[in-house]
């Protein structure tokens, strides 16, 4: 698997270069927050700690969730009684585990796509780097 420019740029940030032979490094991770169910599988699987459960919750995730989902039902109820758009993030108490926003750190991400493979809600997409970022000839073997 040839490394793309993005993959090479990511590997330059990894200490020790232990991931030289890793395939698939350099994918572009696109998170669809409105589909996220907050299960934390991506955070548990992430090898680099880029995805983590945060201590806050973005209320827009409830309002944007698809109809018919659990978060969508919460969002429908909230939308009926709300007086203005939600302001900012909500602090989450310790025992509320699922209603949390997953924080994603682009700088730590290797682009390996493990989160996308494991996501039960299919809320994460790992896009192969664009053809424009293709490797040059000498690095492609």
């Amino acid at each position: 698997m040839p490394l793309t420019n993005r993959g090479r740029e990511i590997l330059s940030r990894v200490p020790g270069g232990t991931l030289q032979s890793t395939t698939g490094v350099g994918c572009e991770i696109v998170r669809h927050e409105e589909l996220c169910v907050g299960c934390g599988t991506c955070a548990a699987n992430c090898p680099s700690g880029a995805s983590q459960r945060s201590d806050t919750f973005d209320v827009h995730q409830l309002l944007d969730a698809p109809a018919g989902s659990r978060r969508g039902a919460l969002g429908d109820a909230l939308r009926r009684i709300m007086r203005h758009e939600p302001d900012g993030l909500v602090e989450v108490p310790a025992r509320v585990t699922v209603l949390r926003t997953i924080s994603y750190d682009d700088q730590k991400c290797l682009g390996c796509g493990t989160c996308a493979r494991g996501c039960p809600a299919e809320a994460i997409e790992a896009r192969p780097p664009k053809a424009g970022a293709a490797p040059d000839a000498e690095m492609s073997t």
Binding site: E34, L35, V59, G68, R70, I81, H84, V96, A126
Partner: protein
């Protein structure tokens, strides 16, 4: 969910139009309510009791749906801290109530509309006092205005595990194997 009926007209104060829904733990608060009824103590006519096996069963969706469907306030009444019959259900409820309060606050609704009370089964007066306190607080708040229910709410609950149906808004086809193609 059907709308919560208005308080029945009685000879004395009916509490106006306001309604308070009380989610009560079977082991303590509901038993306390039972005992207070046996002692012929009257509760405010605004309150509706909902029997729960444990307050740990109360989810944010219960609380928010009750508010959206017509309740002006919701209260959760559970066991004393450390005395939950299922070990720590009431601690879960305390945190969920705190979370719902913050949700309400962030969208401009008074957080006092949702409250947690704890009591033991042997304290009917404490239960009555909690209900009266809740009723008094809700009575002092401006009415909660609700927008119409979205038409799709009832029809769109799909039995296949809550995943959005293919045609529903927000569900777009997304290539799951994109990463495998890259590897």
């Amino acid at each position: 969910m059907t709308a919560i009926p208005a308080a029945p007209a009685a000879g004395r104060d009916t509490g106006g139009d306001r309604r308070v829904v009380a989610f009560c733990c079977r082991e303590c608060a509901y038993a306390a309510a039972d005992a207070s009824a046996n002692a012929r103590t009257s509760l405010p006519p605004t309150v509706r009791l909902v029997l729960m096996p444990c307050t740990g069963r109360v989810s944010p969706l219960h609380l928010l749906s009750a508010l959206a469907e017509g309740a002006d306030g919701v209260m959760v009444a559970g066991c004393l801290e450390g005395q939950c019959h299922y070990r720590e259900g009431n601690f879960n409820a305390i945190d969920r109530v705190a979370f719902v309060q913050r949700l309400l606050k962030s969208v401009g609704v008074e957080p006092e509309r949702c409250r947690m009370f704890t009591m033991s089964a042997g304290e009917p007066p404490k239960f009555v006092a909690a209900v009266k306190e809740m009723d008094r607080v809700i009575g002092g708040l401006p009415p909660l205005e609700r927008s119409a229910a979205p038409a799709a709410t009832q029809a769109s609950v799909d039995p296949a595990g809550g995943r959005p149906a293919a045609g529903s808004p927000g569900a777009t086809a997304r290539p799951r194997a994109a990463v495998r193609g890259a590897a």
